[in-house]
Amino acid sequence: MKLDSKIPAGPVAEKWEHHKFNLKLVNPANKRKYTIICVGTGLAGASASASLAELGYNVLTFCIHDSPRRAHSIAAQGGINAAKNYANDGDSVYRLFYDTVKGGDYRAREANVYRLAQVSNNIIDQCVAQGVPFAREYGGQLTNRSFGGAQVSRTFYARGQTGQQLLLGAYGALMRQVDAGTVKLFPRREMLDLVLVDGQARGITIRNLITGELESYAADAVLLCTGGYGNVYFLSTNAGNSNVTAAWRAHKKGAFFANPCFTQIHPTCIPVSGEHQSKLTLMSESLRNDGRVWVPKAKGDNRPASQIPEAERDYFLERRYPAFGNLVPRDVASRAAKAVCDEGRGVGTTGLAVYLDFAEAIKRLGEDTIRARYGNLFQMYEKITDENPYQTPMRIYPAVHYTMGGLWVDYNLMSTIPGLYVLGEANFSDHGANRLGASALMQGLADGYFVIPYTIGDYLATAKFAKVSTDHEAFKASAVEEQAKINKLLSIKGSRTVLEFHRDLGHIMWEKVGMGRTEAGLKEALQQIPRLRQEFWENVTVPGPADNLNPNLERAGRVADFLEFAELLTLDALNRRESCGGHFREESQTPEGEAQRDDENFSYVAAWEYTGDFAKPTLHQEPLVFEEVHPSQRSYK
């Protein structure tokens, strides 16, 4: 199968306009004859469901949570980018496009990123009209803050709760349609399978998490807006329910998975405090504006921070990157922190942490200024660690935060399965090998509000649809298969818990497929993962009922999928023998230890096709063509 990205011809700035004009339309009266399934109610899913329902389609919307408003988008803190140039500091659609392509280390599609930058402004308009309480100036105008990877101030924010507010805006729009009867909402439902009829995505099999029953839903198109797969690492800043299940099952039905090895590791998270740890908490990137990162110069120096004299401290970011200092991009900062910890110079009881020290800033600016800037973060830190960061330096460590990879989609956001669309973090499209801060929210809403409403019409208007109901064989077969899987999980009755397997998998992934990846390590992981998977299917224990709420059973299914998916992620990492963005192959670095891209051999999207054998997926390459921005080596010295 040849990958067709359907990128329109013409200059990058005009592609989307032309494309919109060329797309076929569904006439307003006919829209209600089409049913669209939307799985997920994060920024992508909620915005898509609402917008499609407003257009007149029948929408069925599903989510795992008890309320659509709890999707993981709610946790985003920092902000959302847009090329409004309200700050009059030289921003433009082109500059946002340029920064994002460069920030992604030249592994994203230019056309997609340009469109993203173009609609970014409409997103802000839309959200403001919905009543999202963005931060404002005294004159009543919107205000901006700066984020990493940009020299302009273009990030809109609502305190430290931007994701929450944007999601509540989209959720409101969604609930309005629920009220109008155009969206039917199905919370506490988990998609387990995609149902194809004549090769088209025509429905889903879901598990009702309260009754345990499997239910089938038929439609004319299916949107997956199911978020990222960061939890394959067990510990991440993702929420507990974030999973790869929907995407993975769709992959097994024929959707290609693109660049799964592109994962982002955020440098400033609260470190692990013990085995019991269930998740990691992000401390906003903005802290690095005033905090200085250091570790003791000597190995195993376990004196309290205050007793380590200045001369015996190593401000390693400032030392290694004098030009950018503590403000190097996420991937660079994360790797540097890992390196000093690997040398045995990490701090805290686990030795897996570095200091983020505000003492100097407090001396220079006063505690009040620091409190005004970061008060809520300091408070959150203290709540979790019981340490006062005004007095002792914060301890931070990198953690998995975002996944750039995802199901492959074309310019219309359609996967390799006709009628299956993928939106938001679940697709691979816009961030290349590294996502810049404040651009995931932008992408989720762009996909849902401003892309899918146009592109789906083209498919619905042109594709041929057989009459399909849930009585169709394909639905029954899918349900039988999924029920068998559930029964199997319940019947193993082994001796290890799902959590233990998940933790073990996370351990392998973090050690071997984490911040620094080597061929040897990846190959080891490829030995270990299938073994763990096999053990899982032989020795897991999942007590509790099948016909009732059973969160442990839900988790078992998700971990089972992670155990399969992890292998693909690792294979992709092994295949990509270059370093780029969040993917760092230790074999491919500059003499100074920086990431070394290999544009000649790897300037492509790796789209993997499932073959039935986890060890042997087929690789399809979509070459990346750069007409506007010319790839160059990033340097932060």
């Binding site: 946790a75 009543g131 309005r176 013990g274 709420l549």
Partner: protein
């Protein structure tokens, strides 16, 4: 520094209920090896792990983000919603709050409008229906004017944000002696009525949201402010006064 200062043994009394229709009861468990650095939910994870190992059904509770923003978690801990720390969700509560040998009683939210689904998990969809009854500004995608075309005084934006911080966890109604949803409903109403964009639907919104709140079977507000005291986002009960005012204005307005 409170890093792993020994481990504690905690006695738990937890409400166990197999399903919505089944009867429930309090059951005792012992959580061993509890580290002071654990969050409350991590402590429950440990208990659940041992239950699973014994082949028993683990304690069901809702949780997701574990950083106090999604609003999934929530339980009564020793008779108080989200436990003893102000401005804190259960997932942000840490075990260093407790002493070795403490007994902790854990119950689900109780309200007619929040029926128990299982153990500590309740159905909070009533809140979604209250929002569906008008907790939004009706604006179709694509029809918005430029964001800066509608200036909003900074003070209003800030106050709107205070109200908008609600995470819909349900603690307000759970703690209220009347199981009233007034704080939840009013927070959203106030957010929207503070913004110029929210004016057009103002009275309709007030009427419909209040009616829906009643319809769901929540109680009336006795103005005790227990809701504010347990709200993890410390949303003020002044919002309720605003709701009352909005409702009165709406009721007095002529409407066909």
């Amino acid at each position: 520094m409170a890093e792993n200062q020994g481990s504690m043994t905690i006695n738990l009394k937890v409400w166990r209920q197999a399903g919505p229709k089944q009867p429930g009861q309090m059951k005792s468990y012992v959580a061993e090896d509890v580290s002071p650095d654990m969050s409350f939910l991590e402590m429950l994870d440990v208990v659940n792990e041992s239950l699973i190992k014994r082949g028993e059904d683990p304690i069901a509770f809702d949780h997701d983000c574990r950083e106090g923003i999604c609003g999934s978690c929530g339980m009564m801990i020793n008779g108080i919603a989200h436990g003893p720390d102000p401005g804190t969700t259960v997932c942000q509560l840490h075990m260093r709050r407790y002493k070795d040998g403490d007994t902790i009683i854990i119950e689900p939210w109780r309200a007619r409008a929040f029926p128990v689904i299982k153990d500590l998990v309740v159905d909070r969809s009533a809140f979604d229906r209250i929002i569906a009854a008008g907790g939004y500004i009706s604006v179709n995608t694509g029809s918005a004017p430029d964001a800066n075309a509608i200036p909003v005084p900074r003070d209003n934006a800030e106050r709107a944000m205070d109200s908008a911080a609600c995470i819909s966890c349900g603690a307000c109604a759970a703690q209220c002696k009347n199981a009233s949803a007034a704080l939840f409903t009013s927070a959203k109403m106030n957010q929207l009525s503070l913004l110029p964009q929210g004016q057009a639907e103002r009275s309709d919104r007030a009427r419909r949201m209040v009616l829906q709140m009643d319809h769901e079977g929540f109680g009336n507000c006795s103005n005790e402010g227990e809701c504010e005291a347990v709200c993890p986002k410390e949303i003020s009960m002044s919002n309720i006064a605003v709701m009352n005012r909005e409702y009165e204005k709406a009721a007095l307005q002529k409407k066909s």
